[in-house]
């Protein structure tokens, strides 16, 4: 829970921003892993089956969603604990956020992840 003083700094906002970056990159990397390795694909599908209703029909996508969700929420908690009473340079945080989003978008463009998955696999 933030106190009034905590909100005088940007740390709480920066934690939320960085957590989005981590969650989206986790989605991109789990998809790349699934493209590169059949056993990884089966493993993440099993993760999805643990809690998502109908995950059998949804396929490995359910596991990718789960990994992204866990990475997003866990990293949010960690960054929030680290930053809630202070702040990092906001320019740097915004740069990390935007570069992270751009990297994740590129990695999730199918011709790119198919090519990389073929190389890594």
């Amino acid at each position: 829970m933030n106190t009034k003083t905590d909100l005088d700094k940007l740390g709480t906002a920066q934690a939320a921003l960085l957590a989005v970056t981590v969650g989206i990159l986790a989605l991109a990397l789990s998809n790349l892993g699934a493209e590169a390795s059949k056993s990884f694909q089966i493993s993440i599908h099993n993760i999805g089956k643990l809690w998502i209703p109908g995950a059998e029909g949804i396929g490995p996508y359910s596991g990718k969603e789960t990994i992204a969700l866990i990475a997003w929420l866990a990293s949010w908690w960690i960054f929030h604990s680290l930053l809630r009473r202070r702040e990092w340079n906001n320019q740097w945080v915004l740069a990390i956020f935007l570069i992270g989003i751009a990297c994740a978008t590129t990695l999730l463009w199918p011709p790119v992840f198919s090519y990389l998955g073929h190389i890594l696999g």
Binding site: L7, L10, L17, I24, G54, G57, I58, A104
Partner: protein, 197 residues
Amino acid sequence: MTHLEDKDEKTSKDTIIALLLVMAGVGGGILIVSAPAQQLLGESLYSIRSAFHGLFAGIFMITATIGLYQAFRLWSCAPLNIREIEVGSLLNAFSCFMTILMGNWVYIPYRAVGGPKSHFLENIPEIHKVFFEFKEFAALFTLPLAVAAAYLICRYGERLNSNKQLRETTALLLILTFFYFVVAFGLGAAITKLKSV
């Protein structure tokens, strides 16, 4: 005098709301009894779930567009009604979540044997392998972006009026939510036109 005017206005509002509710009830009742709704939804076994996915995507389109407008106000340092953007951002995050939830539900028949995925892979594989796969990931981007925007707006509240960096950061989140929504929605609509569940 002012007090009397307020009272009159309240009375008119109550009357209007009561009449609208009666009209909605009568209209809704006639529709339920007489409208051939199944014909409208189509004969697919999955018509209900795809209708819900489309419904929430439609609501999300509205809230994300309002979010884009609020982002412009944040970016340009226009005066803000914090309560208004708090409610808007929460609705935006909620409609985003529901769209993804319903998307998962409709993804099952999409992938099923004989579903659109098999159809595309047999006839035009690029539709699934490039456009659908990108759409399903772009759609997921919107949830953390919309939730983070709502969180910042609700958490910082009135501070948004005075902190430029905070305003720019929140505006950025709302703009990106809109962008990834448009990518997912546009591709989803185009793919559904080719073959629906």
